[in-house]
């Protein structure tokens, strides 16, 4: 071999060795986030509550709260940023106390318009105000959900119209809308009654957005993610309500009612999106669309059941609908239970259910919400 050939051969071998060395090690995952978040603050309802009442509104893990408990969606998001959450308010059943170091202000049953007790932490408006009072330095991530219980209140009152002549409905409407608007709606009959509900939800969304702006953005928060309202007509609870409407008044009436309620939810979401549009500090996670897609296309999300609750019913409420007891609905209990007819996955059958009870997601449902919110955060450049 000529000297030059030897040189070439050596160069080739050296290159091959370098390539092989480069092939060693590495891989895995780079878990650093695009932006640094030093605190995650959460306001909302049961979907976001880390355990104000000593448990979470889903299937319980090995502990009801804290380590070992089921991670709900805001906790999943917080984990991404290396943060943990604990309930800011805790309840002993009759009154609330405050844990100032905990940044999850969400409370089960939370309403934007908690008209029966506006100053209670059950008011999401109050939660947002309290979180704002603590001040923001711009490095927080703020996660807010709300509106589901408000819509449920309104729908419940609307459905009582035939029985109470609209007294309850009028009372709820009047907490947000002026008397003239409410009177005009009642004078316009069935169509007016249906439309004014949308008006209520729209006004509520405007107020919600204004509350967030005043107490969060204006106080220095730079990253706020709002989860919009899911189509609650797709929950097992409202499917049951609509079934009872169908039984009493026929399928057409039930379909009309569903369209009316879904329209209210959409009215809220559209107004909310419109109110925050153009503000780069705010993103909306579109739970409405994703939730609807999960209901119509469950296999895509590896859901095997999106119509019935995984937890066993433990009673019947005054409205005739089943009630559930979350503290006793644990992962261990469900895995030990005989799977319902048609369920798959053996003892893990409940893990592919969408709903824990009639209204709240399973741990997997929370994972899906967390992924949805993460997508919105990523698209904003925050993750």
């Amino acid at each position: 071999m000529k000297p030059r050939m030897q040189w070439a051969a050596r160069a080739a071998v050296a290159s091959a060795v370098a390539a092989l060395l480069a092939a060693c090690g590495g891989g895995g995952s780079d878990t650093s986030t695009a932006v640094s978040v030093n605190s995650v603050r959460v306001m909302g309802d049961s979907l976001a509550d880390s355990g104000t009442f000593g448990f979470k509104a889903t299937v319980q893990g090995s502990a009801p709260t804290g380590p070992g408990s089921t991670p709900i969606w805001p906790e999943r998001v917080a984990t991404t940023y290396g943060q943990t959450l604990c309930p800011h308010y805790t309840s002993n059943g009759t009154s609330f106390s405050v844990n100032a170091t905990c940044t999850n202000y969400a409370v089960a049953g939370g309403r934007i318009n908690n008209f029966t007790a506006p100053a209670s932490p059950v008011s999401i408006t109050r939660q947002i105000q309290d979180a704002g009072t603590a001040g923001y330095n711009g490095s927080e991530l703020v996660l807010i959900d709300g509106g589901g219980n408000d819509a449920a209140d309104l729908i419940g009152a609307y459905l009582r119209v035939p029985r109470d002549g609209g007294a309850a409905y009028r009372a709820v409407l009047s907490t947000v809308l002026d008397t003239a608007t409410v009177n005009a709606a009642f004078a316009a009959g069935a169509t007016g009654l249906a439309q004014v509900g949308g008006r209520y939800m729209q006004t509520l969304a405007s107020q919600f957005a204004a509350t967030i702006k005043t107490n969060t953005l204006d106080k220095g928060a730079k990253r706020v993610a709002i989860v919009n309202m899911p189509g609650i007509t797709l929950t097992p609870r409202f499917r049951a309500v609509l079934a009872s409407v169908a039984a009493a008044n026929g399928a057409t009436a039930a379909a009309q009612a569903e369209a009316v309620f879904d329209g209210w939810v959409q009215a809220f979401n559209q107004q909310l999106a419109g109110s925050v549009a153009g503000d780069s500090r705010v993103v909306i996670a579109d739970l409405y669309s994703s939730f609807k897609d999960q209901a119509t296309n469950p296999a895509q999300y590896q859901l095997t059941n999106v119509t019935t609750a995984a937890c066993p019913a433990t009673g019947v409420g005054s409205d005739g609908l089943p009630t559930y007891t979350f503290p006793s609905c644990t992962a261990a209990a469900l895995s030990a239970a005989t799977p319902p007819a048609g369920a798959t996955g053996g003892s893990n059958w409940w893990q592919t259910y969408g709903f824990a009870d009639g209204f709240h997601p399973t741990p997997y449902g929370h994972q899906l919400v967390g992924q949805l919110v993460s997508r919105a955060l990523s698209q904003a450049g925050w993750l």
């Binding site: 000529k2 030059r4 050939m5 070439a8 160069a11 080739a12 290159s15 091959a16 370098a18 390539a19 480069a22 092939a23 090690g25 590495g26 891989g27 895995g28 995952s29 780079d30 878990t31 650093s32 986030t33 695009a34 999943r76 998001v77 984990t79 991404t80 290396g82 994703s290 897609d293 296309n297 296999a299 895509q300 999300y301 590896q302 859901l303 994972q367 899906l368 967390g370 992924q371 993460s374 997508r375 955060l377 990523s378 698209q379 450049g381 993750l383």
Partner: protein
């Protein structure tokens, strides 16, 4: 010794001298060093369930320091083996996760062996060529991001990782060699690898990705 032998010797000497001056006759070995740019022409499938419907990925271009070895089997046929440092490609969300940014990266060593046919005379300054290669794309150091973790239910403690299948592909090539002198030359080529692979996530989903990269390679070579 007679004139015939002298003439034969002179003729042989002429041939040998001519060989030294000629560029790419049979038996010539050359090396080159340069750079290669790989521009994937991605067509992503949808990530399998569970996922947002229509979750797809895009793959960006990459360049690396490369070179190659070439051996002329005949005056026209050559075996060509590009070698080089690994390419690093980033993956970005597309489709239902468009705009989420980078979801991962991988290194790849596309090992290719080309059979090339070189046109023109062996001693021509400019010799275009056509080639056909077999590529084995070895993917390694697949690395996911916090974004992918969050989108797939992973956590910092238990992140979602990715594994890309190593695959064979056919690689047609067109290029040319321009000889500055009998030793030094420049070699430029465009090739297209027909390459399809599948990425598997530790969370259970997978997505097929047609890469079919356009590849541009240029190198300065030395002939022995």
């Amino acid at each position: 010794m007679n004139k015939h032998i002298v003439r034969a010797g002179a003729a042989l000497a002429t041939v040998l001298l001519a060989t030294a001056a000629q560029a790419q006759v049979a038996g010539t070995f050359s090396v080159r060093i340069g750079a290669t740019h790989i521009a994937p022409q991605v067509r992503s499938g949808d990530l399998s369930a569970p996922s947002f419907p229509g979750t797809r990925v895009d793959v960006d271009s990459a360049s690396a320091l490369t070179g190659g070895l070439n051996y002329m089997l005949t005056d026209h046929w050559a075996i060509d083996v590009p070698i080089g440092l690994p390419f690093k490609h980033s993956f970005y969300g597309d489709g239902a996760i468009a705009g989420v940014g980078k979801v991962g990266e991988t290194k790849v060593l596309p090992a290719t062996v080309f059979a090339q046919y070189r046109f023109g005379e062996a001693n021509a300054n400019f010799r275009p060529y056509l080639g056909l290669g077999v590529t084995y794309a070895k993917f390694f150091k697949e690395r996911t991001t916090a974004t992918l973790n969050a989108l797939s239910g992973g956590t910092p403690a238990n992140p979602t990782t990715a594994d890309i299948d190593d695959r064979f592909g056919l690689t047609p090539q067109v290029g040319f060699v321009y000889n500055f002198n009998e030793r030094w030359f420049v070699d430029a080529a465009y090739y297209k690898s027909f390459l399809k692979t599948r990425t598997h996530l530790s969370s259970g989903q997978s997505v097929s990705i047609r890469l079919n990269p356009n590849v541009f390679a240029v190198g300065i070579g030395y002939r022995f």
